[in-house]
């Protein structure tokens, strides 16, 4: 092979090498023991395996998703059950007055929580509209806070997640 051929071969090789944007793989085995850093929240929650935790936001202290776009989130806030429940129903175009004592009850965090359900077209705060949507919500007053768990998604998907939702709510504990 003469030098000119070698040079001609080297140029594209160098060019191709410089275009390679990946870096050599590395094996990782380092671990560390758990510390108080790993107690991240004041709530202990066991999330169902087919849900995934996504970034929290200002009003979503524990934010999850299921299926493609289904959402479940815990909010620690204030206010009373009735007005919050009615606000949720309004998002489904449901104008009925909530009678708290008539709602389904569930023991959560040592207090009696109520479960709220609705369906229809959901009009969310971020301009999101979901046709044939379902709502499954839980509201409980505990330690001076109003804890709410709200599941929004396609009606049939929400119904399919009911058992997961109940188990999730029952797992919530103060740390």
């Amino acid at each position: 092979m003469n030098l000119r051929m070698l040079a001609l071969g080297l140029v594209p090789m160098i060019a191709l090498t410089s275009c390679d944007e990946s870096i050599k793989p590395v094996e990782v085995t380092e671990t560390r023991r758990l510390t108080s850093y790993d107690d991240e929240s004041n709530l202990a929650v066991a999330m169902p395996k087919d849900w995934r935790r996504v970034p929290s936001s200002k009003f979503r202290d524990f934010n999850c998703k299921f299926n493609q776009d289904g959402e479940v989130y815990i909010s620690i806030g204030s206010g009373d059950i009735k007005s919050n429940a009615e606000r949720w129903l309004t998002q489904f175009g449901d104008k009925r007055t909530v009678v708290v004592s008539e709602l389904e009850k569930l023991d959560v965090m040592g207090s009696q929580a109520v479960i709220l359900e609705s369906e229809g077209t959901f009009a969310g705060m971020r301009g999101i509209n979901i046709e044939d949507a379902g709502l499954l919500g839980l509201l409980v007053e505990t330690r001076g806070n109003l804890i709410t768990v709200k599941m929004i998604g396609k009606k049939e998907e929400v119904q399919a997640q009911r058992a997961n939702f109940i188990a999730f709510c029952q797992s919530i504990q103060w740390k």
């Binding site: 793989p25 066991a46 995934r52 970034p55």
Partner: protein
């Protein structure tokens, strides 16, 4: 007069230990320090400017002044120091004239050599993190404000298990280089990971309606890179991690964002895994309880003027080992760790003390080197003074 050697090795050795090299190195260090001091006031900030000028990987430096790249290329500060250390070893210790009269100069050169080597040990072996405690709290970890890691941990029934760590060193190849990606093989987990699009400062936004053009949307979120701030500790990094199941080949993408205070999760093989990007966590070998924190602020400002803390060091079982007071410039030194109080805040419901936690095998070397050098030069001065005085007396006697 010594006859000059013609042997090229000897000549090279003499050149390496010569004054020319020493002067060039010192001038270069002066220029590098001056330019980096100017540059760190710009958008790069102190952390990235130090990295650019003085890191091991910085073979050459293209200085930037007031936003413009200067048309010069300088050698990296680390390597100038390395050459200077070699010069000091060859010229100042090995080739120097020996004898008791020159012993103090030899010792002073040796102490400067120790100072330089101490700097290298600090660069390669020291570790610095931060511990923030409210009065009454006990800390068992410190975290880095500038070095980030990714942790992957299985979550069983809501409880996090021991995490696997992709530390800052292995991530450094892609950090701040969003066009690059790196694969991480995780033999203890059923998947491997690839990290990409690792930005220094970002906001993570949720898609509202339709996605932003060109955005890489992952589960309804995308990374919005923003200009890094000068202070690295106030930047919020983000990256995309892609987990590829080894058996099925199925991949799962997640966005990791430093600004989150919790893990994001993925379920693989019926197990939930939590992932998080954050400052490297350093488990301290003992715990520290903050018993009291006192301070004073500059009048009319929120800046602390003086502060001090009473702490109790606890062993692994939580038993009291000793009580100490940490003051400004009076750190707690215990079991290879040094706790310097670096912040104090009484704005919240409880008073807080912030400690910089450091380990450095050559922590005290500069002090000893400076003491040794000072004593050696003093002895050298005395020897020279006596020599001068005795010569002067002898000369004046002769003149009489």
């Amino acid at each position: 007069m010594r006859k000059k050697s013609t042997n090229p090795i000897v000549k090279a050795f003499a050149f390496m230990g010569g004054f020319h090299i020493a002067i060039v190195c010192m001038v270069l260090l002066l220029i590098l320090t001056w330019l980096s001091t100017l540059e760190q006031t710009g958008p790069g900030g102190l952390y990235w400017t130090l990295h650019k000028y003085f890191s091991f990987g910085a073979i050459t430096v293209r200085p930037t002044l007031y936003g413009n790249d200067l048309p010069i290329i300088l050698p990296g500060g680390y390597w100038v120091c390395a050459v200077f250390t070699l010069n000091l070893l060859v010229g100042g210790v090995m080739r120097i004239r020996k004898g008791w009269k020159h012993a103090p100069v030899l010792v002073s050169h040796f102490s400067m050599l120790m100072l330089m080597i101490g700097g290298a040990v600090t660069y390669h072996q020291s570790r610095e993190s931060y511990m923030l405690l409210e009065v009454g709290d006990t800390g068992d970890y410190a975290w880095s404000l500038t070095e980030l890691s990714i942790e992957i941990a299985e979550i069983k029934e809501g409880d996090k298990q021991e995490p696997l760590i992709l530390n800052s060193e292995v991530l450094s190849a892609v950090r701040g280089k969003p066009q690059l990606k790196r694969e991480f093989l995780l033999p203890s987990l059923p998947f491997d990971a690839t990290v990409s699009e690792y930005h220094i400062n970002t906001q993570v936004a949720q898609v509202r309606g339709s996605a932003v053009e060109g955005a890489h949307v992952v589960d309804g979120y995308y990374i919005n890179p923003i200009e890094p701030t000068g202070a690295e500790e106030s930047n919020f990094s983000a990256c995309i991690i892609s987990l590829k199941e080894r058996e099925s080949g199925e991949t799962h993408e997640l966005i990791l964002f430093e600004g989150l205070t919790h893990d994001v999760t993925v379920t693989i093989d019926d197990k939930i895994y939590g992932l998080r990007l954050h400052g490297e966590i350093w488990n301290t070998p003992f715990r520290v309880r903050l018993d009291a924190s006192r301070g004073e602020k500059h009048p009319g400002t929120g800046m602390a003027m003086i502060y001090e803390s009473d702490v109790t060091v606890l062993d692994e079982e939580g038993n009291d080992e000793m009580k100490r007071k940490i003051e400004m410039n009076k750190p707690l030194r215990y079991k290879d760790l040094t706790f310097y109080q670096t912040s104090w805040n009484d704005a919240g419901p409880k008073v807080e003390s912030g400690f910089t936690v450091k380990t450095n095998p050559s922590d005290q070397w500069p002090k000893y080197a400076i003491y040794t050098c000072g004593i050696a030069l003093f002895v050298h001065f005395i020897i020279k003074l006596f020599g001068f005085v005795s010569t002067s007396i002898a000369r004046s006697k002769n003149e009489q």
